[in-house]
């Protein structure tokens, strides 16, 4: 029982950044902006979160700082691609490079260290909240242990997912964003400012991915490690593809990727002679199969990447 709970909590923990960044990618791609810069947004968010926490002492302000850090990359992506008509992919790759360099440079400028920052106070874990009320509710020891490993952001992420479903299915804003991704000419004929909506979407995407990055630095750990996003931004894109550009799909894909990452760690500890890299490569392989067989039926927004 204990081990299973461990695995579940590990899965949820690993899925959280993917989920947040995946939703970031979703909002941007549904508005028609190809966003491969999630990696850079996460990294920037992770660093900004630690920086702000270090400066103010409050991890909650740090979380906001992380969102702002992600938005800064989103802002650049918006300006270069929407205003200056740069190639989407090339701009994204340049911004990922920029984030990797800038965080390394700032790490040295701010903390006078290389590689990793001094540790700061992290976001509270879900377990703290539970144990605060466990006396009155009578929560068992096992559940408490299970919850202690989870950050509050882990809890926030699925809630955000539900909000997203409602946002895109039911609200006018969600409809406007989708209209820009499906048919920008039609949207602009209907009186929407495609540029403004897309710009907003990229910024929102940066905020979400930045939150995912903040989870990595002040949720899971309590410090910034150079290049700590480690390809998770690209994995979030894979989750987006596997989820067929649907909020619920992204949620499932992120959980699935989290599980396979957790399994890989689990296996590496227990059966080190087995190739645990299989599980690390698994998300990408599954993504391939889905792409090849056109499973899931839905295609990307039809004007994705078209101005």
């Amino acid at each position: 029982m204990e081990t299973w709970l461990n695995l579940i909590s590990l899965t949820l923990g690993k899925a959280t950044p993917l989920l947040l960044a995946g939703f970031g990618g979703l909002i941007s791609e549904l508005s028609g902006v190809i966003n491969f810069a999630l990696e850079g947004m996460m990294l920037m968010g992770a660093f900004a979160a630690v920086w702000v926490t270090y400066a103010t002492g409050s991890p909650w302000l740090g979380l906001l700082g992380g969102m702002a850090g992600g938005m800064s990359i989103g802002l650049l992506h918006g300006v270069t691609t929407l205003k200056l008509r740069a190639n989407w992919i090339v701009s994204s790759i340049a911004l990922n490079l920029l984030a990797a360099g800038l965080t390394g440079m700032l790490l040295n400028q701010v903390f006078q260290v290389y590689g990793m920052s001094p540790s700061v106070q992290g976001l509270p874990s879900f377990g703290k909240v539970i144990s605060a009320i466990s006396g009155s509710l009578g929560v068992g020891e096992g559940q408490e242990h299970f919850a202690r490993g989870m950050s509050v952001l882990t809890l926030l992420a699925p809630v955000l997912g539900l909000l997203f479903v409602g946002f895109f299915k039911g609200s006018t804003w969600g409809l406007h964003i989708r209209a820009c991704g499906e048919n920008p000419l039609g949207a602009s004929a209907a009186g929407l400012s495609v540029f403004r909506i897309r710009f907003f979407s990229v910024l929102a995407s940066g905020a979400l991915a930045g939150m995912g990055g903040a989870y990595l630095s002040i949720g899971e750990l309590s410090q910034f490690v150079e290049n700590m996003s480690h390809g998770r931004g690209y994995l979030a894109i894979a989750a987006l593809i596997l989820g067929r550009w649907r909020p619920a799909g992204v949620l499932c894909a992120a959980l699935f990727f989290g599980l396979s990452e957790a399994l890989s760690e689990w296996m590496a500890v227990r059966w080190s002679y087995l190739p645990h890299q299989v599980f690390l490569a698994f998300p990408y392989l599954i993504c391939f199969v889905v792409l090849m067989t056109h499973m899931g039926g839905r295609q990307p927004p039809s004007s994705l990447g078209r101005l």
Binding site: L97, M105, I237, F288
Partner: protein, 372 residues
């Protein structure tokens, strides 16, 4: 009259040949400007910063050798990206192709140490190129038969390749240690330095890369096949209507692109590291995109743009030693170069508009004085 026409045509050709430089120069200017803005934040003067980069990259023979050695894989991955882009495809999977090319090359060399160098060297090089080419075959087939965009598939395959290489090098192909590396390749497969001075030297690999890029430029501009490829990249519909086998060319060029990236990995093993190890590529695949886009994907000028990121990479240690600046600044500068290279078409047209609007207004007033 005829002579005048000929000279105009000649001049236009010169302009066309130099066109890539016009996209490189603004990017470099923006990069230098950025350095000047950045320097005060790092408590150094702009001159110190730029001077140290120059000194670290080209200040001594050792430094120059390092720069040239580092430029070699960048030139090849840049050529890989550039060739694919000429056929209208964006290959962002060089990272994976290079990794597998390097691993395949190292493993073959380790497996056949008894072969004479004259067989072993070409065998190793070709295996590396073949592995890279095969890794690029799947994305292009997926694009043509299943409609999967090559950007997505090559991106995904990068990670598959890296994890696959990780597994192989920790398991069946490793040297048995927990370091995650292959045994050293036999001496017969090592390219000795052509010029060596002190600890560093330059092998023949940069020359090979340079020759390949110049050959590619000649091939693209001077042969019928090259013309066909360029036509495919310019527009598939027109190319198809002209009877050019679009799909076949794209397949060939993309596999060639992967092979070039694989070759970059093989040469890196044979000239620099003499073995394959985990996390082999420090981002050479993505740097290839910078290299290619800095000169508008013109293979003939890639050598110049490959030297830029390579010089930055060569200078990073000196920056840390002399100015106590994190080597990460190199990545920032490279990102700025790439960003300005991709945005410059619009930026330049804005500038032109601005300038011309100033001048035409003046000229209008001068040429058409008010009559009423």
């Amino acid at each position: 009259m005829k002579d005048v026409m000929a000279s105009i045509r000649y001049r236009r050709n010169i302009g066309k040949m130099l066109a890539p430089l016009f996209s490189l120069i603004p990017a470099v200017s923006v990069g230098i400007l950025f350095c000047m803005i950045l320097a005060p934040f790092m408590d150094v003067t702009p001159l110190e910063l730029i001077g140290t980069i120059w000194k670290g990259a080209w200040g001594s023979r050792d430094a120059a050798a390092t720069s040239i050695t580092k430029a070699t894989p960048l030139l090849l991955t840049g050529l890989a990206v550039g060739m694919a882009y000429h056929a209208g495809l964006l290959n962002i999977g060089c990272e994976g192709q290079l990794t597998l090319g390097a691993l395949a090359a190292a493993s073959v060399a380790v497996a056949a140490p008894q072969l004479p160098p004259i067989l072993l060297v070409p065998l190793t090089v070709l295996t590396g190129a073949l592995a890279g080419g095969l890794w690029a075959l799947l994305p292009v087939l997926l694009r043509q038969y299943r409609g999967v965009h090559e950007v997505v598939s090559t991106l995904l395959m990068n990670y598959v390749a890296i994890y696959f290489a990780d597994y192989l090098v920790l398991g069946p192909l490793g040297d048995g240690s927990a370091m995650g590396r292959t045994p050293a390749i036999p001496a017969g497969a090592v390219w000795p330095p052509l010029w060596s001075f002190g600890a560093s030297g330059v092998s023949a690999a940069p020359l090979v890369a340079l020759a390949l890029s110049l050959l590619a430029a000649l091939w693209l501009s001077g042969t019928l096949w090259g013309y066909e490829v360029t036509a495919v990249g310019a527009g598939t519909a027109a190319a198809r209507a002209a009877g050019i086998p679009v799909e076949r060319w794209r397949r060939r060029i993309f596999v060639l692109s992967g092979a070039l990236a694989g070759l970059a990995g093989a040469l890196e093993v044979m000239t620099v590291h003499h073995r394959f190890y985990r996390a082999f590529s420090p981002g050479y695949g993505f740097d290839g995109i910078t290299v290619a886009f800095l000169v508008g994907n013109a293979p003939g000028w890639l050598w110049l743009s490959a030297l830029l990121p390579a010089s930055l990479r060569a200078a990073d240690k000196l920056l840390q030693l002399e100015l106590n600046i994190s080597p990460s600044i190199v990545l920032v500068l490279q990102a700025v170069l790439l960003l300005s290279a991709t945005c410059q078409a619009r930026l330049i047209s804005w500038l032109k508009q601005l300038i011309s609007s100033i001048f035409t207004r003046k000229a209008d007033i001068e040429q058409h004085p008010r009559t009423n």
